[in-house]
């Protein structure tokens, strides 16, 4: 009797466990998308357009328009907040259950999806955008020579914001054109007892994203990172070490506020906004907040000056593109055609116009509308030249971690640029 009850209770316990487990694994979002009822093609689409920002609204409008113009195709879209989106894509990708269309982030974020054979290239329809999107703006969504998505907006990560009044006081009507003059400016500002460049590198990515991405490009040229990744070049290349030395030199000559390792990028923007510092090197993301907090400030924007002996284009600026949409690798036949049709309709000239009107720089070759803010127009003009890759959007994440903390150590003097180069090369080789 006792034995029987025992085995019963064990059975019940097992049953409870099984029920609990099966409850957890419900809600399958399978990517199988075939036909459905009648002739309608249904496509699932995940994006991050949850907030009512101008950019999101412009994007959602494109979907609406497409649905109206294509009665046979239904886009079932699901908007998920940015951070959760990334986690969701990562976990669903691990289970090979991505939707038909998925918003993707460039470079290092896209590569694992390609390596896992979860998304498919769109090269066969690329000619559709020949007149609209320039070759140089496509790079972030290209992996191993194949195009996986198209860019919509573009965000320069490395602009020099300067206080025109403070520079004038120091005797500069124009922003210096060369690095040597730039250093002279820093010395003059220092002797005037102002902080030359506001920097907050506590989170470590600022020196990488806003500094080395452009300074490195000045020295090595824009092909360097991809050449390093495919093994043709090495981080120990002299030109790259020279680029790191520029950062070391700036920190050695105390161009930054002395607490730059213990404040963050919001705090360095405040330093600049309050007039404690004459310059800051920051991405385009600071433009809006700056205009909002100090609308009367006389701000100029320039690119990092030319460096002697550099192999890169001195008018290049590191920038990262966004709002790409990739196609699930399992799409074929009718579904694939519908998805491609969607991309063609989505990335239209009208969309880029709408984005520009919302003060967003776009990755397309269009005439800007007349009513955009003058500073945005200036940024737009500055970034019209060559686009250089941003390090953390190009390198594998563990290499990015190495360069992030390494640059900080270089400014502290606990690591030499040569040592950092060696470590980076080691990290690249390990990540293969």
């Amino acid at each position: 009797m006792l034995k029987k009850i025992r085995s019963h209770s064990l059975f019940i316990a097992m049953l409870v466990l099984v029920l609990m487990l099966s409850a957890c694994s419900g809600d399958d979002t399978s990517s199988g998308s075939s036909g459905g009822d009648g002739d309608k093609v249904e496509l699932t689409f995940w994006n991050i357009w949850t907030e009512p920002s101008p950019q999101n609204e412009a994007s959602l409008k494109q979907i609406e328009k497409f649905n109206k113009e294509h009665p046979n195709i239904v886009i079932n879209q699901q908007s998920i907040p940015h951070d959760q989106f990334k986690v969701k894509v990562k976990t669903q990708a691990a289970g090979k259950q991505l939707p038909d269309l998925v918003q993707v982030f460039p470079g290092a974020e896209l590569k694992p999806l390609v390596d896992g054979k979860l998304v498919q290239p769109i090269d066969n329809i690329l000619s559709n955008w020949d007149d609209l999107i320039k070759e140089g703006q496509l790079g972030d969504y290209r992996v191993d020579g194949k195009q996986y998505a198209l860019p919509a907006n573009i965000t320069p990560t490395s602009l020099v914001y300067y206080d025109k009044d403070m520079l004038k006081e120091a005797g500069y009507d124009e922003f210096p054109q060369t690095y040597d003059e730039f250093k002279k400016l820093i010395k003059t500002l220092k002797s005037n007892d102002t902080i030359p460049i506001a920097l907050g590198n506590k989170a470590q990515w600022v020196l990488q994203s806003s500094y080395i991405s452009t300074i490195g490009d000045r020295m090595t040229g824009s092909e360097f990172l991809s050449e390093v990744l495919n093994g043709d070049k090495k981080f120990t290349d002299e030109k790259f070490i020279d680029a790191v030395n520029v950062i070391k030199e700036l920190s050695d000559m105390e161009a930054f506020n002395e607490d730059f390792n213990s404040i963050d990028n919001i705090q360095h923007r405040d330093l600049f906004a309050m007039g404690d510092a004459a310059m800051m090197i920051d991405g385009a993301w600071s433009l809006g907040p700056l205009l909002e907090s100090v609308p009367d400030k006389n701000i100029g924007i320039a690119l990092f000056p030319q460096i002697d002996g550099g192999e890169g284009d001195p008018s290049a600026v590191s920038a990262v593109t966004g709002t790409g949409i990739a196609l699930n690798s399992e799409l074929e036949g009718e579904d694939l055609e519908a998805a491609q049709e969607f991309l063609k309709s989505f990335y239209s000239e009208e969309y880029y116009q709408n984005l520009m009107k919302a003060d967003i720089l776009v990755a397309a070759d269009i005439e800007p509308p007349s009513d955009i803010s003058p500073l945005l127009r200036e940024v737009s003009k500055l970034t019209n030249g060559q686009i250089a890759p941003v390090y953390d959007a190009t390198l594998p994440t563990d290499v990015t971690d190495t360069i992030n903390s390494g640059l900080q150590e270089v400014t502290l003097g606990t690591m030499t640029p040569e040592e950092l180069a060696k470590q980076l090369q080691k990290a690249v080789e390990k990540s293969k």
């Binding site: 209770s9 316990a13 390596d115 989170a203 607490d259 213990s262």
Partner: protein, 291 residues
């Protein structure tokens, strides 16, 4: 008792749900962690079995050793900072002084304030340009002693540890006060009759009587220090360089920011065994002194 000795199964059935949940949420993840730790996996592509390579890498990873060293530093600062200070204040507060309650509340306050807020406020106080400490030093003419507290690797760990000590002294203070109040007054009376002075009472009665509480505090202190994460994460993010990196943070970065799930799992197992060993060791050492 009599009932249980005859048939044990009702007890098992009663315990089963809790036990199941414990297995599901504590034991299984640890086992999964073992499984991941022998794999190379970025979360996207296929897992690849790499044997003990992750553990091997951890053993030769200078940053991991640095983070371990920093962790030991935190453990040391906590055990030899928090506990003696808390004990000292508790002994003072245990006398009948005016405003004892007030001091107790004030002392306990840091424990209930959110760590993020503590980190931000202390971060501002440490700031080398506008921070309280440097301005204080300057205002009393000790300009030569001002430091770049969090921005200089020589000082960053010390600065972080001071904040950690400050944050948790209150917790042990309360534990010790509770222990002190449980010591019967008669023992002291007897001691006084025998002519034992205040200091002698402290060393021969108070401390031995509360030794068990001290052991508990030490264990709490060690395990808490090994888990330390949030305060340092907000204050310095492990920087500058890796000078304030601790194991939990390094594990977190490797796993979720570098997406190296396998290596991160190996690191977390190291942390697991290391904590186990340290807690075991400390109880062994302290038990021997127990009365």
């Amino acid at each position: 008792m009599h009932l249980l000795s005859r048939s044990k199964w009702p007890a098992f059935v009663g315990l089963a749900p809790a036990f199941l949940i414990y297995i599901l949420f504590a034991i299984v993840p640890i086992l999964i962690s073992f499984y991941y730790s022998v794999m190379r996996w970025d979360g996207f592509t296929e897992m690849e079995f790499v044997g003990l390579a992750n553990f091997q890498e951890a053993l030769t990873d200078p940053i991991f050793w640095q983070s371990l060293k920093n962790n030991l530093y935190v453990v040391g600062a906590s055990v030899f900072g928090q506990i003696p200070i808390a004990l000292f204040i508790a002994l003072l507060l245990n006398r009948k002084i005016k405003g004892g309650k007030f001091f107790r509340t004030v002392g306990f306050m840091p424990v209930v304030i959110s760590t993020v807020i503590i980190s931000l406020v202390w971060g501002m106080m440490y700031n080398s340009r506008i921070g309280l400490f440097n301005q204080l030093l300057e205002s009393i003419g000790l300009e030569s002693l001002t430091q770049n507290w969090l921005g200089d690797p020589k000082w960053s760990m010390i600065s972080v540890c001071i904040t950690i000590i400050w944050q948790f002294v209150g917790l042990y203070l309360i534990i010790f006060l509770a222990a002190l109040q449980n010591i019967p007054e008669e023992i002291y009376e007897a001691a006084r009759i025998d002519g034992a002075s205040g200091l002698k009472q402290t060393f021969y009665i108070t401390l031995p009587m509360m030794w068990d509480s001290i052991i508990v505090a030490v264990i709490l202190c060690i395990s808490g220090s090994l888990r330390t994460f949030d305060l340092i994460y907000v204050m310095t993010s492990g920087g500058p360089g890796h000078s304030t990196e601790v194991m939990a943070m390094y594990m977190f970065e490797q796993t979720f920011s570098s997406t190296r799930y396998g290596y991160g799992s190996a690191l977390s197992l190291f942390i697991f065994f290391f904590s186990l060993a340290l807690v075991y060791l400390s109880t062994r050492i302290l038990r021997r002194k127990s009365v």
